[in-house]
Amino acid sequence: MDVLMAALGELFSFDCLLFMVLGVFIGIIFGAIPGMSGNLGVTVFLPFTFAMDTVPALILLCGIFYGSNFGGSISAILINTPGTNGACATLLDGYPMAKKGHPLKALDMSLVASTFGGLVSALTLLFFSPQISKVALSFGAPEYFALAVFGLSIIASVSGKSIMKGLVSGSLGMLLATVGIDKISGINRFTFGNIKMYNGIQMIAVLLGVYAVNQMISRVNGTEGGGQASSLVGTDRKSDRLTWKEAVSTVPTMAKSSIIGSVIGAIPGAGSAIAAYISYNEAKRCAKPGEKFGEGELKGIAAPESGNNGATASCLIPLLTLGIPGDAVAATLMGAFTMHGLVVGPKLFQTSGDLVYAIMIGSIVAQIVMYFQGRYLMPVFVKITHIPQQLLTALLMIICCAGAFAIANSVFEVYIMLIFGVVAYFMNKFGFPPVPIVLGMVLGPIAESNLRNALTLSDGSWMIFVQRPICLTFIILTVVLVVLLKRTSKKNAL
């Protein structure tokens, strides 16, 4: 109780609340700009926190992290370019809804779902950290492989008309992910003697190419519908807001997705993109008649947004309890914790319990702050749709180039982005969907390295995948999912 009171005392100071508001705002902006991820935001602001007190500093950085995850959906919905990896699944229904003239409604849904997911995640962090960290501990190479295969099966549901073409796109993504130093053998693959390729092909650069540049080429070419961004604006602003009834109808979807996100977020290395896709897929699988996923369905926004925000605070669970960063942002946050004298790991709660609880409770408050900020910022963001198409295309190109450059402070990533923009344009022309490329790039390396590690564990026996309960569960889920999807698509065809 004393620890809790001390934590509340630390948290509810003017400094802390001010930096929380600031952090969330910065995060939303960084997330909304394609290529400028939350990790970049945390990295940029990390040095500024050196002179600050521990709790306000960490609250600021965590605020950036939380805000950026919601921010990623803004560009996904308004300009069909995900600001972050986690927002890739949001554009599947977010952009079509905006195109139908309901950008504000789509953003409202995203904000409500993000807040919902974020709150569930933060509460999970506060109340279930020890239990969830045990789940993380039971995740070995075979479980990661099974999770990746489960994730890859989503290709079947986001491939549009042709699953075969989806598989080709997915394979391309997996192939791209093999470039660089192989984590198992240490040998270079497909680097062609180019030192810049040693790090592999950066996913954000590909993402910017596949979505943003591809779209710009299409607009210039006149193949991307008429080209006026202002066509996105709803005629009646009142009808373009999320109603209470609509929000309530998505609560079961948000609840399920938030739980999926919270669990996946707590598994080191899984990340918010996987959470978003699995949540989207689950919502699509449970779709009621008349719900048209991929054409601007509200649940198609609610699910990925609750999923990816569900993975935010919970990714701090393995960091705080085991000292294992869940993803790239958590790794940067780990540095920030250390810089402020908090040694993350098994002894953290013993040595700095009050500070850790302050951050955990702060994570809950930050979600509420995010909701109110989002609510007031939305009309400002939606003004992007008033920008004339020609100007928007040029502006986007600059922002994307800057974003690609910022990935590794290198022009190389800008070239990668441009190349994949052209590749995606032609793929699009021939009906190859872009989403599986992203899935392949996210899940391919997880599947590959963990398959090889799992076979090392089992001395080459494939039985390891059915002998471990979590692994077997994922395999059964994958089979059930594929069969159900096949049945649904057959039904729809009739």
Binding site: P47, L391, N409, V411
Partner: protein, 346 residues
């Protein structure tokens, strides 16, 4: 409409190309500026040969590790301290990958100057050239400024494994394959464990990951029987009782963990003492007095109260190995690594 769209496209393309070209131009202009600066400096040096070197101007420090990591943090603490003490402007640029090869390659694009530095990992000169023959990295191309971090590797097992000593692990290895967690082949934790188990004649295989934290997780979950990590990283896990240190890859017994006197790996009969080293380099051709002077300035900064406070908060213990000693040590470890590479990596 089509015309307008085309115009917008052309405009965007021109902007993109201009922006992309900016990087090159920047480098070029920076090169020119540096060339002029070097010329001026050479003239000045001739005039004030006897004067001690004082850091001044902007220092571009490339860091091989990601922002937020230990190496990055330590560089930032040091840079901040230099800024406070000498008024210099340090610019930290995280150019990750290949143990610093990408950072070093970027530095090679500039004329030799003490203001152009890179923080690299020892592997850049020990294992990386062996693993990637096309890397073309040589110690001769660089001046070694001095070390920022040196940390020994410790061999760890889980508390639940039933193993409490090296002898127990050997016994276990007689009937089982030893699965050890490490980073990819060529990385520090892989090299030391691969060498140790190879020399000990044990049947062992690596479960690889991209970070020592994940290796520790693999041991704690029971997937791997042992791992190695730096002494600093392992500290909280050892002190919480989750992991047991059974050997240190060093010539000296380690007593830094409460309740443990960690025996050395050489005491098991295997001379594997390769540590983890992160140090500053600059291009060959930089005046030796400037190189030494810069490291002296770092050492002086380390005595300031602000540095000590920041280092203590971050749990950072500075390493004081100067450039000359460092070069000799890296040469030794490069030879040791090559021996392991020739025996077990071919």
């Amino acid at each position: 409409m089509m015309k307008k769209n085309l115009k917008a496209g052309m405009m965007a393309a021109v902007l993109a190309i201009t922006l992309a070209a900016c990087g090159g131009n920047q480098e070029k202009s920076a090169e020119n500026v540096k060339a002029e600066a070097t010329e001026t400096k050479a003239e000045d040096a001739a005039e004030t040969d006897a004067e001690a070197y004082v850091p001044e101007g902007t220092f571009n420090i490339r860091v091989f590790a990601a922002a937020g990591g230990v190496a990055d943090m330590v560089t930032r603490i040091t840079a901040q301290s230099l800024q406070d003490s000498y008024g210099i402007t340090p610019v930290i640029n995280n150019l990750t990958g290949a143990n610093g090869a990408i950072a070093a390659a970027d530095m090679d694009g500039y004329d030799p100057s003490i203001n152009e530095l890179s923080l690299v990992s020892m592997s850049l000169f020990t294992m990386s050239p062996l693993m990637n023959p096309d890397l073309n990295v040589s110690m001769d191309n660089y001046e070694f400024v001095g070390s920022l971090i040196r940390d020994e590797f410790v061999l760890l097992v889980s508390k639940d494994s039933g193993i409490k000593s090296w002898e127990d692990l050997v016994e276990y290895g007689k009937n089982n394959k030893i699965i050890y967690a490490s980073n990819a082949p060529g990385g520090g934790t892989h090299v030391v464990q691969c060498g140790l188990f190879g020399d000990a004649g044990l049947n062992a295989e690596a479960l690889t990951s991209d970070g020592s934290n994940k290796d520790i997780l693999a041991v704690m979950s029971g997937d791997a029987i042992c791992t190695s990590a730096t002494v600093t990283l392992a500290k909280s896990y050892v002190e919480s009782g989750d992991l047991i240190p059974i050997g240190i890859f060093s010539d000296n017994v380690y007593t830094g963990y409460e309740g443990y006197e960690v025996p050395t790996v050489p005491s098991f009969g295997y001379d594997i003492t390769i540590p983890s080293y992160n140090f500053l380099i600059t291009r060959a051709g930089v005046d030796a007095a400037e190189v030494k002077g810069f490291y002296d300035a770092i050492e002086a900064c380390r005595e300031t109260e602000t540095f000590k406070e920041a280092a203590e908060a971050a749990g950072y213990v500075p390493d004081h190995t100067d450039g000359e000693t460092l070069r000799a040590e890296i040469e030794k470890y490069a030879a040791d690594s090559k021996e392991i590479f020739d025996k077990y990596y071919q």
